[in-house]
């Protein structure tokens, strides 16, 4: 049995995770959830909190986010390694697509140097056959297109 709070997406709220904490403990006691699921929950929770941290970033913290975007891209690239099992790959790609979208929304035009590498990685994701990741990847792709159109219209006006 997999707790529904396992999946990372923008609609997931930590309140929900907190409410399942006791239930999760009971499920582990009953043998339904392994320690691996605990680790997976923690990873999802950490990325969700990173996303919230990015969203709450004031102007003076934006250079820090800018510095971390290449690290997120590196991590996304690393998920294509055969060392990852399918489940772990799905989870990480979903979380990283969400994080990159948060970064894009906060950085705006400053995200421009990362647009090409992000699109290349998204194409690699689209070639895989995982519906869960596709939802997040499409959302990031849409945000990228929106950003590019905004840049293009600014240039056209000039």
């Amino acid at each position: 049995m997999r707790p529904w709070a396992f999946r990372v997406d923008r609609s997931l709220h930590f309140t929900a995770i907190s409410h399942t904490t006791t239930a999760t403990t009971l499920c582990i006691a009953a043998g339904f959830i392994s320690d691996d699921d605990d680790d997976n929950l923690l990873r999802s929770a950490a990325y969700e909190t990173i996303g919230e941290l990015i969203n709450a970033a004031p102007v003076d913290c934006r250079p820090c986010i800018d510095a971390f975007v290449p690290k997120f891209l590196e991590r996304l690239q690393a998920t294509f390694s055969p060392d990852f099992d399918k489940e772990q790959q799905n989870q990480l790609q979903t979380a990283l697509c969400c994080t990159l979208e948060n970064s894009l929304n906060v950085l705006g035009a400053e995200y421009r140097p990362y647009i090409n590498p992000t699109i290349q990685l998204l194409f690699s994701i689209f070639q895989s056959k995982t519906n869960t990741v596709h939802e997040e990847a499409l959302s990031l792709f849409g945000a990228l297109i929106q950003r590019m159109l905004l840049c293009a219209s600014k240039h056209a006006r000039k």
């Binding site: 309140t15 605990d38 923690l42 990873r43 919230e52």
Partner: protein, 107 residues
């Protein structure tokens, strides 16, 4: 409330029982969610203890992560400001959370 927070902070960093630390981190998260104004004066202590708890066993770390999430939400409305009380902790929180996300993954 301040006394209670001080007790929870102490318990989270020193209690030998993992379930107690887990519940304490969760309680700090609930305080941040329901009484955000009581967290603001003790932000430094709360962020420090929750940040340190990220390296604890997964259940405690998960509750600490959730608590941090709620602490961060307190300052979500200040996102467009030049600076916020979070600025001071931003880099360290970012690094600690990323390390937590990578705990069981070699990337």
């Amino acid at each position: 409330m301040n006394d209670a927070i001080a007790t929870f902070v102490e318990q989270l960093s020193t209690d030998p029982s993992e379930p107690v630390r887990d519940t304490t981190a969760w309680t700090l998260g609930r305080i941040a969610e329901l009484h955000p104004d009581s967290i603001k004066p003790v932000l430094h202590v709360v962020i420090n203890v929750l940040g340190q708890s990220l390296s604890q066993p997964p259940k405690v770390a998960n509750s600490a992560t959730w608590a941090l999430h709620n602490v961060i939400l307190i300052f979500a409305e200040e996102a467009d400001e030049k600076t916020s009380p979070l600025s001071k902790y931003f880099f360290d929180l970012f690094t600690a959370l990323l390390a937590t996300a990578d705990r069981y993954v070699c990337v």
